[in-house]
Point group: none
Chain length 196, copies 4
């Protein structure tokens, strides 16, 4: 119970302050618990953050995998997957913004507070997530629905647009807002902006 209180408080504080500026003191104040309690459940501030990310993304990853496995027309599948992404990132925008920053050190060892091992775990999650997009695009190409292109880059591009829409606050948590924006993104991604 205390554990969940701490995770909830940590979510709020990390989301608002970022990793560095979040203090354990503030987390415990919000969780209404003692400082030692945090360290009973989590080995360190870093570990607490990692656990938070892992627990928050578990359902999303399951849903994503389920969707990827469906037998579905590629263009439909793309729309659906965009929607799933939007739903997840809208619900977790603030925390993922923080995570993505701490992950940025994909080349410089020294650029985050995280250990190399920890960062690698995060990276694998991202690689897998974007990998699902790649797989769907690749299937689309093979079925002739998508024209041949660099799926790796295209998947990253699509991913970045989704995330940006959320981070910029263009999408709110309403179901129809998500639906509309998913269609919007899919529309341009699939057909481009050129008039015909």
């Amino acid at each position: 119970m205390k554990r969940q209180q701490i995770l909830d408080a940590a979510y709020t504080v990390f989301s608002h302050k970022g990793y560095h500026r979040a203090t354990v003191d503030e987390i415990i104040a919000m969780a209404d618990t003692g400082k030692g309690t945090v360290y009973n459940y989590f080995a360190s501030k870093e570990q607490l953050f990692y656990t938070l990310v892992k627990e928050r993304s578990a359902k999303f990853e399951t849903e994503l995998n389920r969707l990827a496995g469906l037998d579905e027309v590629p263009l439909i599948k793309i729309k659906k997957v965009i929607k799933v992404f939007l739903e997840f990132y809208v619900a977790n925008a603030d925390l993922w913004r923080v995570l993505m920053h701490e992950m940025r050190g994909l080349g410089h060892e020294e650029s985050t507070n995280f250990t190399a091992a920890q960062r690698e775990k995060y990276r694998e999650r991202f690689v897998h997530t974007i990998g699902v997009l790649e797989t769907i695009l690749q299937a689309g190409i093979e079925q002739g629905a998508i024209r041949p292109c660099d799926v790796h880059k295209a998947a990253h591009g699509l991913f970045s647009v989704i995330v940006m829409m959320v981070f910029q606050g263009f999408v709110d948590a309403q179901a129809d807002s998500i639906e509309a924006n998913a269609n919007n993104i899919a529309d341009i991604f699939l057909y481009g902006v050129v008039a015909r």
Copy 2:
């Protein structure tokens, strides 16, 4: 002269360490100067960072404005502007990654180390930069080259893709890499991925 040494050192350190983990001590060591000297030229660490960003982006903004003012076919203009963006972000990837993180709190007051006033200045730069994209798209729509869409969102989407390509290391500093990637991004943005 000292001033420039400090800015150069600050660029390196901020780029590698991020804002938080960059220390004034490290900057002065690299700049081969005294700690007090930094505070003679810059009111604070934050101010130093801001100055750095401003000076680095000055030429880019000039170039961007020049380009926006040209009388040019919209589709060509879009390609050109993508290239200018790529050139700038490739050259400044590390520092802008840091900047964008510190900017992330576009809603939460407490989310960065920066003062509200400072953040507002940064935000205005971004708004203006993306605004150029919007203007170009809008002109394209009015000329019938681009189909009607939410230019605000579309501009943000395009911007996010450009930045993502750079941050993910898909684009290197070679002129032809930039050219190729610019064409690639433009191609999908303009025509979509659907086979025809």
Copy 3:
């Protein structure tokens, strides 16, 4: 039973880590018991340590007293008592090293973690132990076997040599190693190093 498990574990942990660095967590892990259980049997970490010392030294003190009471030629008695000391300290070297450190503040109130009352108890044990050596030396002087000297200092000197030999690892637990070293120490203590 739990009580003994705790004492055994405490012995190992205190011996290896010293008083300060030994943690109750480590002790209970090794004792395979719960944290509360420790506090059922021992009022505090300090009390646990004290009990440990008391129980480990009980047999030694009995043996020492028995030996002191024997009717024996002084020089022989000295050799025997040295051997008994060596046997005890070899078997308990690590823990006594720790004890002696925590006792070091024989003048400064603030120098250990122990309460003044607790320290006084330890001190009495040492005083008594060394007192046995003094008594034996004094008897030797009275019988003319030992030349008059400050028995208090001499006893401390002899004690320090014995302890040092053990702490420096010059003596191992083998019976003959103990025998040989006891003879060695006795030889120099009794006859000096000068050639004749």
Copy 4:
């Protein structure tokens, strides 16, 4: 100046409290300085302690080396060297008590707060110091003044007696107390306690 104030305060606090219980806060309070200042001069609490030991022992080691090099009758030399030892340890008793404790982990890695590298430096000092005693004894044996014995053990024994006398408070800082005790120790070490 601040540096010396800090060292002086550190000496007092370490001496009274031991390494572990000495707090940086207490040191700065006594040194009348800020916390950061300590860390400008010394990388860590451990480094501060090490520096303290090094500076305090420098003169002693020089004097010891000088004495060892003198061309002198062995028995006289032994008396002189005992006196030099007493002088040094009387002046630094409290700090060396602490040092010797932190050094105790000559077998167990985990037993002190000090890093292995740091401990090795301390150990070398001790080895060298006792080595001087060994050299002097060895010379005495070769000149026939001392009877053959294990000089390594004998040197350690002599060392331990000297240290014990000081730590037990048998020797005070008065020149004649030192002189008297040096003679006393030398007398028993050289000629033993047996009556003749």
